[in-house]
Symmetry: C2
Subunit: 151 residues, 2 copies
């Protein structure tokens, strides 16, 4: 029951195999708190295993997103970024604080109570009024980080 076991189980549950490439990609995602791009992952994986191509990175990221193992974010900075989903990391449910200048992205988990209240009220109300079935939400705050203010 090695490190890959958990992922193997997860993927098998969706009819996929845990290959070396997939494990390498999941390793990168598991061992960072950053929000990494396909190319970030490619470069890290490539250092250890140059046989793994960028195409496989993209394919795997799509697969992992479909199976709910990772989340994809388009912060509007050109390239998509990924992180392990809540259920698959020790990260708590969080939202993002983004510096408009340097593009730093901070996960914050505070204000959970106030957030739950608002989200819950809004979701219920929107489901009723617009007859949507809502299953996800996204909250970003934008501003200037302390480094960019003084710099």
């Amino acid at each position: 029951m090695g490190r890959g076991y958990k992922w193997g189980q997860k993927l098998a549950g969706h009819g996929f195999r845990l290959t070396a490439a997939r494990e390498a990609i999941l390793d990168v995602l598991s061992s960072t708190n950053e929000h990494v791009s396909a190319e970030d992952i490619y470069m890290t994986v490539h250092a250890d295993n140059p046989r793994i191509g960028l195409t496989t990175i993209y394919r795997t990221l799509e697969l992992l997103e479909q199976t709910g193992i990772i989340c994809k974010f388009e912060f509007g900075h050109g390239r998509a970024k990924y992180e392990l989903s809540e259920a698959n990391s020790h990260k708590k449910h969080h939202h993002h604080l983004i510096c408009k200048k340097c593009r730093k992205i901070i996960d914050y988990t505070e204000f959970a109570k106030a957030e739950r209240e608002y989200i819950q009220k809004a979701e219920t109300g929107l489901e009723k009024k617009y007859r949507f079935t809502i299953d996800d939400h996204l909250i970003h705050f934008y501003g200037i980080c302390p480094e960019c203010k003084t710099g």
Copy 2:
């Protein structure tokens, strides 16, 4: 004091001219409630004035965004979408409800009180804890619209 007057003033305040192309683009944005892409705008503008090129659409959208006249959204569907900013339309402050299947986007303005409470609390707290200066936020809810459920 024609229709373009207001825009002329706004742009002049930033050192820009109100040209025919810019007015045409602002007309499109003013006369829709949808979230339109550069190409949407191009096609509409092009019908009346085929001399206006797509490059100018992109350039103008960037300019209008910089001057705060419009807002750009990257909903993650490949192309950016634009709408007049709050101050420049009769739309109220709103957020978005998005169908994951058909990509329909609904503006909602409900829950303003609960939202203000949460936003206010979060912003204050985040500014204090992370020393950011926050000036914007974005909230999206995702789900399936009624048409896509029955379809």
